[in-house]
């Protein structure tokens, strides 16, 4: 390729409080190519692209478009330069229709909208690229794959030439990923420039013309897609450290034991946009990890919340430790030895403005209180926390500072230490490694497998099929609030799970 690049980023630097997200990053993007940005979570890929799209402002650095320096101060500016971006968490408005969402994005519309003509344009473009999306449907009714297509449509209709995709495959089933790459190929043919962020090696090798690998805010290297191999990319991504594989036990020793948790025909209300559970039967025995696969929003969150007692059953019965617990409060469930490891500790588990030790005490305030609640036994809190941190081989943070002052990784470790402190019998792990760097993710996985070996039952909800196959003793697949398949990792392939996840007709394997 002897052409000059369409877009040049030079020495882009951006820091957030406590993190240098981009450290003098250089990048060239050419027209008619798919340029993959590869790197583990937190390597700075998204930040770089959000700067390019004007969503963040860089501390320093220069952006050139066709050799001319440009200033991009807001998404509005970026759109003027025909740059478009599909965010990782879709920036769509669920309550509005597809057409309204797209209209919102289009520049240069008259003050009074002509909806018929907009819908016609949507249909034309979706025809050309072979998407089928109903412009009148409210977005909350669409599947993740369809929402992805809406995003692409938005960019095409807004006449963007440079298209940025931030982890577009995160919640797609394998065959949907193939469909998306077909779209990429068509766009490339028409001369669009595509930047594609991912941390999945296979996808990069499948579709990228050039690959830039980022590591800790810097560019580790740029190579041609045709020359890249899995091992060369891994070396660029991680340097030396490599994801450790956790041995799964061949046989399930749990077979003979009495169930730890049992759900019989459980239904829940469907709240707003999410699916409620429908007739869910699930058994978890001590010493096994039951993995739950599914595209997010298909009832996994509700499943976890039902087990925790947060969501009430409208129908069905729940048993815990052999006792019926359908009407227990969350406090009763937690005190009986149920731990909860969330995807997003700051949102669902941590209290950033409370001190580290106060956070620890939250696991069971009753147990740590004295004189019936008039004061707290901080001595006991500290020693339990210390013991748990040591057992997990984590660093000991100061106990009196607000938890929010610690780094993200340390907050996650603190929550893990808190949840594991009292040797839980049942662990609900909710996307436990999402957003973690490789080391933290590995330690979280190790904790889960160790607890399993020590006899705990684990409900592992995850979107990462690799993680599910690696850790689980049994797998269930959820779709639209139902369990649509149950198997073991040995007996089912990832593709089969993918079909089940998306409700495709794929054979409904039931092998128990």
């Amino acid at each position: 390729m002897n052409r000059s690049p369409l877009l040049t980023l030079r020495s882009m630097t951006k820091s957030f409080p406590g993190v240098l997200a981009n450290d003098h990053v250089d990048l060239d993007i050419y027209g008619g190519e798919v340029h993959a940005l590869l790197g583990e979570n937190g390597a700075g890929k998204s930040t770089l692209m959000k700067i390019l799209y004007g969503f963040y402002r860089p501390d320093s650095g220069e952006i050139r478009l066709n050799g001319q320096p440009v200033h991009i101060r807001s998404p509005h500016d970026a759109r003027q330069f025909r740059i478009g971006m599909v965010f990782q968490d879709f920036v769509q408005i669920p309550a509005m229709t597809v057409a309204e969402n797209i209209t919102l994005f289009l520049p240069d519309l008259p003050f009074v909208l002509n909806q018929a003509s907009i819908i016609k344009r949507i249909e034309e473009v979706s025809e050309r690229y072979g998407f089928k999306v109903n412009p009148h449907a409210p977005v909350w009714r669409l599947s993740v794959g369809e929402r992805q297509k809406v995003e692409v449509l938005k960019l095409l209709l807004a006449d963007a030439r440079i298209l940025i995709f931030d982890e577009p495959t995160r919640s797609l089933a394998p065959h949907e990923v193939d469909g998306l790459f077909q779209v990429f190929a068509n766009l490339k043919r028409d001369g669009y420039a595509l930047a594609f962020i991912t941390h999945k090696m296979k996808e990069v090798l499948a579709c990228a013309d050039r690959i830039t690998v980022m590591r800790r805010g810097k560019v580790a290297g740029t190579i041609k897609g045709s020359e890249a191999t899995e091992s060369s990319l891994i070396e660029l991504m991680f340097g030396k450290q490599i994801e450790e594989a956790l041995g799964r036990r061949g046989e399930t020793p749990a077979d003979g034991r009495k169930p730890l948790l049992e759900l019989k025909g459980v239904n829940t209300r469907s709240e707003g946009m999410a699916w409620g559970l429908k007739d869910v039967h699930l058994i978890i025995k001590p010493g096994e990890i039951v993995g739950v696969a599914g595209v997010s929003g298909n009832g996994q969150k509700e499943l976890g919340d039902v087990v925790l007692g947060l969501e009430k059953c409208t129908k069905g019965v729940k048993y815990l430790h052999g006792e019926k617990y359908t009407d227990w409060s969350v406090a009763q469930v937690r005190e009986s030895g149920v731990a909860f490891i969330p995807e997003d500790p700051l949102g669902m588990a941590a209290f950033p403005w409370l001190s580290v030790q106060e956070n620890m005490a939250m696991v069971n305030t009753r147990m740590y209180s004295k004189q019936g609640g008039l004061s707290m036994d901080w001595q006991a809190v500290r020693s339990d926390l210390q013991a748990s941190l040591e057992r997990l081989e984590f660093n000991i943070p100061p106990f009196y500072v607000p938890l929010g002052f610690l780094s993200g990784g340390n907050i996650q470790r603190m929550i893990l230490a808190r949840e594991m402190a009292h040797h839980p019998k049942l662990i609900i792990a909710f996307y436990p490694t999402r957003g973690l760097d490789v080391q933290s993710a590995n330690s979280a996985r190790r904790i889960l497998s160790t607890s399993r070996d020590q006899g705990a039952g684990i409900l592992l909800i995850s979107e990462d099929l690799g993680e599910l196959f690696n850790l689980s003793d049994r797998l269930v697949v959820m779709f639209q609030g139902r369990i649509v398949g149950e198997s073991t990792p040995q007996e089912i392939s990832m593709n089969e799970v993918g079909y089940l996840m998306t409700g495709s007709k794929g054979e409904n394997k039931k092998s128990d």
Binding site: V330, E335, L354, M362, V363, L374
Partner: protein, 340 residues
């Protein structure tokens, strides 16, 4: 510890600065209306802090203000916005009056605690209704407490114009006077009454419960991250109802104190917006007990000043609402609405 003292000093300086800014804007407003702000401020100052009687009256006004501020501050720990202090105060007064005029032959040692409990219960139930509506997802406590203020005031009017009207009081709408046994004792020959002790105890309990006890820890946890609190087994609904009950009870106690010690009978003019002023105090203080005392002192001076401005400068008493709003404006604008 020096660190904390410095931070507190900085907070105090900022507070004084913001207050001065609000005073300056209000002075400008007075100028626009052709009044002399310096004279106005001087008259307020000399009438309230210029004599021992003035000071004692400021303290008297502080008693209900501290209680109604607590009525807001306590629920605000878990992000409940209780704007119903005014209504809760009226219902507290209503309940206390019922006790006082119906059990006239009880001795003081029995009657006083009884009307105290009645006042607390009245305000508490009134607040708990809003808490209940919030828990059931029927209405936010903000809008329901606001609407219920009007209902409460009309209810008191209904009783004093109707069934409870004192037949001996000619045409004045007011209840029969309280028996002596139902009048809260006053101290030092001033109008400072036993309610002051209730306010102080309330403040101390507020501080102690929040910082030391399990319930305080759980409340702070809900305040920081409600989702995480629920997942840790803390029942937020229970706290919502409980805190609205206790908060409303505090305002009810304020109403009981006013009706028993100040008026000696139930009148529709029971409160010149004490509940709303309490809301302002709690927000100015950021819910801190010492801050509540300081802000209550300040607003006690300002609201007393409103009456003085009306008498001496022919400025409507509601005019000081502008000053109160300005103070809240600068506090809100400065802090971006953070709870602490």
């Amino acid at each position: 510890m020096a660190f904390f003292r410095n931070r507190r000093m900085a907070g105090l300086i900022r507070f004084v600065g913001l207050f001065a800014l609000a005073l300056m804007i209000f002075a400008a407003v007075l100028l626009v209306f052709g009044k002399n702000p310096i004279r106005a401020y001087w008259d307020i100052f000399s009438a309230t802090l210029g004599s021992s009687y003035g000071i004692s009256e400021v303290l008297v006004r502080m008693i209900p203000l501290i209680l109604t501020a607590l009525a807001v501050a306590l629920p605000s720990r878990i992000w409940l916005i209780n704007v119903g202090g005014e209504g809760q105060l009226f219902i507290g007064a209503l309940f206390a009056t019922w006790g006082a005029v119906n059990f006239t032959n009880l001795p003081a040692w029995l009657l006083l605690p009884s009307i105290g409990i009645l006042g607390f219960l009245g305000g508490g139930l009134w607040g708990a209704i809003s808490g209940f509506m919030r828990v059931r997802g029927w209405a936010s406590e903000t809008i329901s407490t606001l609407l219920m203020n009007y209902v409460a005031i009309l209810l008191v009017n209904f009783f004093v114009f109707g069934p409870w009207k004192d037949p001996e009081s000619a045409n004045y709408p007011q209840s029969a006077p309280f028996p002596d046994a139902a009048i809260l004792p006053s101290f030092f020959g001033t109008r400072i009454h036993l309610g002051a002790v209730l306010a102080i105890v309330g403040l101390i309990l507020f501080y102690f419960v929040l910082s030391r006890t399990r319930w305080g820890l759980e409340m702070r946890a809900i305040g920081v991250n409600q989702e995480a609190a629920r997942r840790n087994g803390i029942s937020t609904s229970r706290y919502i109802i409980l805190l609205m009950l206790i908060g409303g009870g505090m305002a009810g106690l304020a109403g009981m104190g006013e009706v028993s010690a100040i008026h000696g009978q139930l009148r529709p003019s029971l409160s010149p917006g004490l509940g709303y002023t309490g809301f302002l105090i709690s927000w100015m203080a950021g819910g801190h007990p010492i801050g509540i005392v300081a802000a209550a002192f300040l607003l006690s001076v300002i609201t007393s000043g409103g009456d003085i401005l009306q008498m001496t400068h022919r400025i409507p008493a509601a005019g000081v609402h502008i000053l109160m709003a300005l103070i809240l404006f600068v506090v809100l604008a400065r802090r971006g609405g953070k709870p602490r």
